[in-house]
Subunit: 93 residues, 2 copies
Amino acid sequence: DGYKPVSTAAAVPMRRRRVVSVRAEAQAINPEIRKSEEKVVDSVEVAELAKPLTAYCRCWRSGTFPLCDGSHVKHNKATGDNVGPLLLKKPKQ
Amino acid sequence: DGYKPVSTAAAVPMRRRRVVSVRAEAQAINPEIRKSEEKVVDSVEVAELAKPLTAYCRCWRSGTFPLCDGSHVKHNKATGDNVGPLLLKKPKQ
Ligand code: FES
Ligand code: FES
């Protein structure tokens, strides 16, 4: 009767679980293209398009920006995103 | 002499500072435009452009996507980003 069992919970208190809330903050979508420019704007003289179809990047991951080089595929796979280029179509002459 | 002062630090131990490291994971850049589509691609028949200058969105925040409605300004301010539209220029006829 001298021995009184204690519950494990009382003897070895669980370390209190800290809930760390991390607010998802708005993030830049352009990691590295022309970061010295205040705003990256590009112009296309549509009369000067060389090919019937030209793809322009909207994922900010292209190595040939402002043109699309297909890098959106890797970005979409890595993030579950669904972005793709803007296609400029020129009529055949 | 029966009273022995203790340092506050000893009496109330500082809670150990937990360093929480949060890895920055690759993130989607399109929060809500046409998420039912596997890949958002748009085409422009450049011969059908109505105005001398048309701005196409590359920030994925426009309410008139694929056109730019100026929402890149708010995105840039909120995030420190530097993205802007693609301008399509049609020669005056
Ligand atoms: S590489 Fe950016 S949209 Fe294709
Ligand atoms: S609103 Fe997206 S680039 Fe202007």
